[in-house]
């Protein structure tokens, strides 16, 4: 706890210094040396705070949690920080990824010209975001939680708006701001209702005890409010629309942090809310929750995962693709939570324990590989000047280190066995696999078919990431962007070692990570008494399975190296001849005949076009002497353009209609006040 508080102090203190520097920089003309110093200070302090905080989180996981109550000058609520297992577990990506992103961002922003950006302001908000996330994960009081939530939600607005000369970036940050606040509205409603029912703002099981008498209707309203509010932050469909706008617009170290750590706050809040709603001090466990909660979350998660991965398949912008893939992964985590709840309601300890543990493990792993991929995309943007895949290609030769790191991350997120993505998806799949022992054939079939849906999602994920890596990094450079990309040396990318190592460790040390996740899940969402036995059995067996998975797939990698070496031996005598790619008889080959991102996705796009929301322009050349033909595809978000945009226009029109009341004539405003006072008097004088 001390380390955790120390890291908060580092964040706040350095944020204050940087805030002052930001104000100073906006008054006095910037100078290069000061800008560099501010950059080093911001990145260094953020990294230092994260390192200290990480030590604190690990310490809390080992030694158990602690609670601190600080002074608080507000009339309601208390400033209580509680560092329990769930908080510490969610702090791991916050601090771990925060550390990597701070270092990587510090390196990337060194080359920023001082006149263009106010780096002090950037790092100020970066530190504020870290502070907000760290407080959200530990707040044990509703009011304090909401305050921290607002800090965490507001700071990214300024971070996303870094390149504010670009109108698209400004647009994206506005979309983000609107979405963040709409989500917050539901959360405020959630906490107010919770307060009303329990009579306390403390977020502890004991304080929420009156919930058990609140009645199913109130509980369900609370549940829906929590799902909408936290789901908006997590990027659950159909509330995901801000995510693919905001993440590509932000600088890459910010997108990595948003995608790997901030959206986890949604999952964290949901798990906390479920633990509070389902807990009763007498049973101390998930009591009688309505069964539809679990099914709702499970199917919502599956739908989100499918939508996310299909939309990712349609994207030509690498960072947008990664953002949609975050939607997919969040869907998988929600599926895990849903499976856990279903397991609890149906009395199946195996499904319950593995569902929750799988969701948590996937959260941890996702932070690793998504952080790695976003940072790699940032290096691509830095080196080539664009992340539009159709303009790139052949970057593996220009940026070998970045390419290798991206390949590793892509393999991990596409669930290839020795890496971390496979292990968490394996746990999720095993949780669903036991659907056959649930009572009732409908339950069995839904769970098992969900598993088949999961298989489809992971198959599509493999296609998405083959496309992302293959089109961007392999083959010939398609345009000058890729051909003239400037090399990124070792000094630019060394922070990437940490997430890359996390991807490998998450696979090879999977049993330990699973222990951590399962232990956290068991302490955060204790299962009913009757299920603990089978849950323990499931944990034991899963640990053993994961050990064998690590052994077999690690052996597979070793075998691949052996085969590679054997090939080298065989080739020693004859050698390797380098020639042009065989053009099947066609000699005048050009980089333009390569398969593009759009053509790679075409066979799947033909099937899933409605799901992908594919928009095609132009057509094939026609006639014997064809004219110049143009064809382009894009996959804009239909939910944004067809649902949310009209909705907000409607709201705007309604608000404009209300403007009749606001005309700027003071005497009429005084009349309003008078009328109100008279009205209140009449109401108060009623017998």
């Amino acid at each position: 706890m001390d380390c955790y508080l120390a890291s908060l102090c580092v964040f706040v203190a350095s944020a204050l210094v940087l805030g002052a520097a930001a104000v100073a920089a906006s008054i006095r003309p910037p100078r290069p040396r000061r800008s560099r110093r501010v950059n080093a200070l911001g990145a260094g302090c953020a990294a230092l705070g994260c390192a200290v905080g990480f030590a604190g989180a690990v310490g809390a996981l080992i030694n158990g949690g602690a609670t601190v109550e600080l002074l608080w000058g507000l009339p309601v609520g208390h400033l209580v920080l509680r560092l329990d297992a769930l908080s510490a577990f969610f702090l791991l990506p916050v601090f771990g990824l925060g550390f990597v992103c701070a270092l990587s961002g510090g390196i990337a922003l060194r080359s920023v010209r001082p006149g263009e950006h106010n780096l002090a302001a950037h790092w100020f908000f970066f530190l504020l975001l870290l502070t907000g996330m760290a407080c959200v994960m530990c707040a044990a009081d509703a009011i304090f939680f909401l305050l921290a939530w607002e800090i965490m939600s507001l700071a990214p607005f300024f971070l996303i708006d870094f390149n504010d000369g670009d109108s698209k970036v400004r647009d994206a940050s506005w979309v983000y701001l609107v979405a963040a606040h709409l989500g917050a509205v539901f959360l405020i409603a959630f906490f107010v209702l919770l307060w009303q029912v329990t009579g306390s703002t403390a977020l502890t099981l004991a304080a929420c005890a009156p919930l058990s008498d609140a009645g199913a209707g109130t509980l369900s309203v609370l549940f829906v409010l929590a799902v909408v509010g936290f789901g908006a932050k997590a990027g659950i469909a159909p509330l995901h629309v801000w995510l693919p706008e905001a993440h590509p617009a932000a600088p890459s170290h910010v997108s990595a942090l948003l995608s790997g750590a901030m959206i986890n706050a949604g999952l964290y809040g949901l798990i906390r809310a479920l633990a509070l709603l389902g807990g009763s001090p007498s049973a101390g466990v998930l009591g009688e929750l309505p069964e539809w909660w679990g099914w709702f979350l499970l199917l919502l998660g599956l739908a989100t995962a499918l939508l996310g991965i299909l939309k990712a398949l349609g994207q030509g912008n690498l960072k947008r693709l990664l953002a949609y893939s975050s939607v997919e992964n969040m869907g998988l985590m929600f599926m895990g939570v849903g499976a856990g709840l279903v397991g609890v309601s149906a009395g199946d300890g195996w499904t319950a324990a593995l569902g929750f543990a799988g969701a948590l493990l996937h959260m941890l792993n996702h932070a690793g590989f998504k952080g790695l991929l976003f940072l790699c995309a940032g290096e691509v943007l830095h080196a080539a000047g664009t992340v539009r895949m159709e303009l790139l290609g052949g970057l593996q030769r220009r940026l070998p280190l970045v390419g290798a790191a991206f390949a590793l991350g892509a393999a991990a997120i596409a669930c290839l066995p020795p890496l971390s993505g496979f292990t968490s998806e394996f746990v999720l799949a095993m949780s669903l696999l036991d659907g056959a022992s649930l009572p009732g054939v409908e339950r069995q079939l839904v769970l098992l078919f969900t598993l088949a849906g999961l298989a489809l999602v992971s198959g599509l994920a493999a296609a998405v990431y083959v496309r992302a890596y293959g089109i961007t990094f392999l083959g010939e450079p398609r345009t000058g962007f890729a051909a003239n990309a400037h090399a990124v040396g070792w000094r630019g990318v060394w922070p990437l070692i940490i997430p890359a190592a996390a991807c490998v460790a998450g696979g090879l040390l999977a049993p330990y990570f699973f222990d951590l996740a399962a232990g956290t899940a068991a302490s955060a969402i204790p299962l009913p008494q009757g299920l603990t036995g089978s849950a323990t059995g499931a944990d034991v067996q899963m640990r053993r399975s994961l050990a064998i998975v690590a052994m077999v797939s690690g052996g597979g990698v070793a075998l691949a190296f052996l085969l590679f070496a054997a090939r080298g031996l065989l080739l020693r005598r004859h050698g390797v001849l380098r020639e042009n790619t065989w053009g099947c008889g066609y000699q005048a080959s050009s980089a333009r005949i390569q398969y593009t991102a759009a053509s790679f996705a075409e066979p799947l796009a033909r099937l899933f076009a409605p799901g992908m929301g594919l928009l095609k322009r132009g057509g094939a050349p026609e006639g014997i002497f064809p004219e110049r033909a143009v064809f382009s595809t894009s996959a804009p978000d239909r939910l944004r353009t067809h649902v949310f945009a009209p909705l907000f226009e409607l709201v705007e029109r309604a608000c404009n209609a209300c403007k009749i009341l606001q005309h700027g004539k003071i005497h009429l405003y005084i009349l309003y006040i008078l009328a109100t006072v008279v009205g209140l008097l009449v109401w108060g004088l009623r017998p």
């Binding site: 393999a411 669930c415 066995p417 696999l433 034991v540 090939r567 080739l571 790619t581």
Partner: protein, 320 residues
């Protein structure tokens, strides 16, 4: 002979005999077409020749291209080692290992697809794109078929053998599903189980790029999937690809065989399994002789039918 040794002997046998399987298919096709056909051992000759050659590699390529075949062969080897051999449990078996096997094969595909894209050729990009699409669509069918078997195996463990619930879940392994118990089960009045071998056979055709999904004998048609992906490979790398493809074929044939061969004493089971695997090879040859390749846009329908059959089997199994 103890069980691990027995398994290893049979695994070795599988590794040696796997390249014979494409030979058998070719021979059957030739016979049906009234030709004499290539020698049965042609794949071995090819492998020996390729291993002794040098490589011609595209200037465009990077290490991804060079590493692809090794990774895909290693993945196929690991997946094969998870299967039971002639009814003998694999020493690596664990609950849920079919997921690992499926994803290992996925890893092999991932590496091959990247190697194909690395050449920068439009043909190979085309092959990779189709492979990605069809494998993604095949995945649900594969899982549904496995799920039918696992939920039955759960019943079996709970009801008949009287296993505890946790042990019953250990029965989620390939070794428990494909050791012949299922064959005993469909013979004793669960005929819906016969849908599972049919689904696995359909997936065998799709995953190994056989007719009706793909035509492994042509090289330059724009309809190609697997063969066009490996166009630029040569020498030892091509040998690894050819051998890896044979192992993958063996893997799927062994899945079908594992459901058809009833539990028997050890050596009879082993012999019958081998016979069944080569019998399935003959079936593939017959199918290839009797059918034309589907139009590519129809392949998803083929996979969809496989998935629907698997779903039907699952529903029937659960509805009992």
């Amino acid at each position: 002979m103890n069980a691990p040794a027995c398994f290893l002997v049979q695994l070795g046998l599988a590794l040696v005999l796997a390249p014979l399987l494409p030979g058998v298919i070719n021979r059957v096709k030739a016979k049906v077409a009234g030709r004499r056909g290539k020698p049965l051992l042609q794949t071995y000759y090819d492998l020996a020749k390729l291993l002794g050659k040098g490589e011609v590699v595209s200037r465009t390529t990077t290490w991804t291209f060079a590493a692809g075949p090794g990774v895909s062969l290693a993945a196929a080897l690991c997946a094969l080692a998870l299967l039971p051999m002639g009814g003998v449990t694999s020493p690596l078996a664990f609950g849920g290992d079919f997921l690992l096997a499926a994803y290992l094969l996925g890893m092999g595909r991932f590496a091959t697809m990247l190697a194909a894209l690395d050449t920068g050729s439009s043909f190979e990009g085309m092959g990779a794109s189709r492979e990605a699409a069809f494998s993604a669509l095949g995945e649900p069918a594969l899982f549904l078929a496995f799920l039918t078997l696992t939920s039955l195996s759960l019943d079996l463990g709970r009801g008949e053998a009287g296993l505890s619930v946790v042990d019953a879940r250990a029965a989620f392994s390939l070794s428990a599903l494909f050791n012949g118990d299922m064959a005993a089960f469909w013979q004793s009045g669960r005929p819906e189980l016969l849908l599972a071998p049919a689904v696995f056979f359909a997936l065998l055709l799709a995953e190994n790029c056989r007719i009706p999904v793909d035509d492994p004998t042509t090289h330059l048609e724009l309809t190609m999937i697997h063969e066009v992906m490996v166009l630029d490979h040569s020498g030892p790398n091509l040998a690894m690809i050819v051998y890896g493809a044979a192992l993958k074929l063996w893997f799927f044939a062994a899945l079908v065989a594992g459901l058809l061969v009833p539990p028997l004493p050890l050596w009879q089971h082993a012999a019958l399994s081998l016979a069944a695997i080569f019998g399935i090879g003959c079936c593939v040859g017959l199918v290839e002789s009797g059918m034309a390749r589907l139009k590519l846009t129809r392949v998803p329908h083929f996979l969809g039918v496989a998935a629907a059959l698997a779903a039907l089997a699952l529903i029937l199994t659960q509805a009992r």
